[in-house]
């Protein structure tokens, strides 16, 4: 049976060649659309490590960084008597926690859900293997207030003051690429620059932290500790659920008590997330609209050609019925032939497309799982579409009496 079908396909080879070429192209386009959609769907649903509900951000403006350069001197001079001057970060923390609705206070050196981004190149101290990573510095309480769970090791605490190696927390992605062979906890890292003497020790691992939010690309991330004496730039608050923007006045009052010469910009994280998403979604929306148009073009094209292709064979099918084939036989013949044709086109397409993840030109944008899902999806769409397009004329053909079918023009 199969051999017979192959012979049928082969007899119309020049015609079928053109047809399979079109199916091949359609398959590649549908694959590209599936892969893009899959990529963004996955990106959107992967953990960001951020909880935006009831979290607020306060940007502090007007600091003089000369204060910072004085601080270390001051600190070394007074390291014996720690009670002499309380660090500003602690002062802010105390002042804000007097408001009952404030549950947690932490600090970062970078706005979250913002376009800014920091990165650096780090290397493993033992093998000197280096890696580009995104960076953010956070205070000890950040992990609790952000709701960022550690999946291994620990967060930062006050005992890290004066540690020989600066403690860092890395994400799973960085752990997997730098320490695939061992437990990352306790491993040493250093800057890629040759003249740098600072060294870092991994103390914990988090699942992920994508500071720009849901649509930020995946990249290894490293979290460093914001020393207690540093000049605060961004405050990160967790407030009681249901707190509205009326609390801003209260927050401002407390903040001004600590430093009245600085300015404060208070913003709920959900709102910042909303503006980020609205701006970032526009190109994706445009892309989605274009894909709908493209898909409809591909579908109608295939439909037209296959319909015509099958209609031309109505006399032949009539002949088969005249010599005793049932209409079910006709259906199966048409479906099998169509699938055979698809198989040829799709396998050639897969052979071409598999080069993408093999050579890794698109990197992580197209890895093996995504390639699998996208090719399966594209295959399914093409097969269903082409079988449907062929079935309708086959159904019409099977309803003709053999005499009518033989005379069909």
């Amino acid at each position: 049976m199969m051999l017979h079908l192959l012979k049928l396909v082969w007899q119309r080879k020049s015609r079928h060649l053109l047809l399979s070429l079109e199916i091949l192209l359609a398959f590649m386009v549908v694959f590209a659309l599936c892969a893009t959609a899959g990529h963004y769907y996955r990106l959107f649903h992967l953990p960001t490590g951020l909880v935006h509900e009831t979290r607020w951000q306060i940007m502090i403006e007007g600091q003089k960084f000369e204060e910072l350069s004085q601080n270390p001197l001051e600190q070394t001079a007074t390291s014996g008597s720690s009670a002499a001057v309380q660090p500003l970060m602690a002062q802010f923390q105390r002042a804000l926690q007097q408001i009952p609705a404030v549950q947690q206070v932490a600090f970062t050196d970078m706005l979250l859900y913002d376009l800014s981004n920091q990165s650096n190149t780090f290397q493993r101290a033992d093998t000197a293997q280096s890696l580009d990573v995104n960076m953010i510095a956070v205070s000890d309480d950040f992990f609790q207030s952000a709701g960022l769970p550690l999946i291994a090791g620990r967060g930062f605490h006050a005992r890290d003051n004066g540690a020989v190696h600066q403690p860092v927390v890395i994400d799973e992605r960085m752990a997997a690429s730098l320490f695939p062979d061992r437990d990352p906890i306790g491993q040493l890292l250093r800057y890629d620059e040759a003249n740098s003497t600072e060294s870092f020790q991994v103390v914990g691992v988090v699942a992920a932290l994508r500071t720009q939010g849901e649509l930020m690309g995946l990249a290894p991330t490293l979290i460093t500790r914001l020393p207690e004496q540093s000049l605060p730039t961004i405050l990160f608050l967790q407030l009681a659920p249901g707190t509205d923007r009326g609390i801003e006045q209260q927050l401002l009052q407390q903040l001004k008590q600590v430093r009245s010469d600085w300015r404060y910009k208070i913003e709920p994280l959900s709102q910042k997330r909303q503006s980020m998403l609205r701006v970032q979604m526009i190109p994706l929306l445009i892309l989605a609209v274009l894909s709908v148009f493209l898909l409809s073009m591909v579908a109608f094209g295939l439909f037209g050609v296959l319909w015509q292709h099958t209609s031309q064979r109505i006399p032949e099918l009539g002949l088969r019925r005249a010599i005793g084939a049932t209409s079910t036989d006709i259906y199966w013949q048409i479906i099998a032939e169509q699938l055979l044709l698809n198989l040829v086109a799709v396998s050639v397409g897969l052979l071409l497309l598999v080069q993408l993840p093999l050579t890794g030109v698109l990197g992580e944008h197209l890895d093996w799982p995504l390639f699998g899902v996208a090719s399966l999806g594209a295959m399914l769409i093409i097969c269903v579409l082409s079988v449907l397009c062929a079935l309708y004329p086959a159904w019409r053909a099977s309803r003709f009496t053999p005499t009518e079918a033989l005379h069909y023009e």
Binding site: L19, L21, M28, S119, E248, S275, S311
Partner: protein
Amino acid sequence: MLKNYLLIAWRVALQRKLFTFINLLCISLTLLVLLVVTALLENTFAPSGVEGKSHRMLQVLTMVSLNKERGGRRHSPLGYQLITDYIKPLPSAELVAAVSMPESTAVYQPGRVTDLLLRRADAAYWQILDFQVLQGRVPSAEDVANGRFVLVLNQSTAKQLFGEQQAVGQPLNVGGQQFEVIGVVADVLQLNSFSDMWAPVTTYPSTEYQHQQSGQFSALILTRSAADFAAVRQELAMAIQGFQFEDPVRWQELLLWADSKLEFFARNLLGNQQQADAGAMSLIAVISALMLLFMLIPALNLVNLNTGRMLERSTEIGVRKAFGASRRQLLWQFLVENLLLCTVGGLLGLLLAAGALAWLEQSGVIPYLQVNINLTVFGLGLLISLVFGLLSGVIPAWRIAKLDPVVALKGARS
């Protein structure tokens, strides 16, 4: 004679309704996709209207701060101070505007709160971009200098907030500040003009923004002509040499790239943030390759449809030849037939594209989209479909017409 051919073509088209319908649909859908794609691409890379001066405009949206000792990098939007101190004084620039990124801001009205995007801009912003003012006016240099709390809305936002009421002159509480609406502009979706509301930069609650090196701003540089781009870039590179960061321990070197629209998108899509070359050529190459690949499908489709149809019609050709039609006449017949199909399909495609774009603008699937059909692209698309239609329709017909009528009558397939 032509009338005769047209009549035959019409009859054939009616007789084979299915084929005619599918063929028309394919041509018009292809043109529709082509027109929609180019309209969107044009709106992005070479917009007309609000950002119509894009061909002589450069923009700086990202500053790259480098740490030489530890090798750190930071990408962030610019601060206002950086723009006023380093970009505004560039001698080759005709005008330089500073505008903040759209920020989600709460608008308080009696009984309801709406979250909308607000941009704060200086006076030059309104000169560089040609907003289409529907009502009232846009902020003047005086408004900005005196820090007046004036607000411009776009059409959709004005309707959303005030319904059918006249928006101009209404007071509005935006993020806790009391503004007066002075103007309504048409909706626009372009890189630097996308927002719901605009206010003068001087209406920030504090003047701290004036002292920021990195912040929420981007700079638009209008030059006298595109020929000045190189000069502006050179001057910018000179100006930021030895730039002093306020936090010199963390950052020591600054990189700023003044990009055209195309370069901006290329830089961001390809991630070339740390080199002068944005990779515009690679982006063009990628886009053209994709367009070619996508257009190959309808071309192949047309060829498939037509060749199949012609083979089927070999009996008809045989009959016509047997009754004395010359090859020339047959050729003319198929030429006219294909021309007619392409023209009708093309016009249908144009109508469909206009309808689809109007629907896109109306439905708000893509917010604030305003695009125009490019007639040059339409002509080009029509020409391409004509070429493929003729190649695939006339060549097989020509070959069949060469055959002996007897062979043709029996069917050229066998």
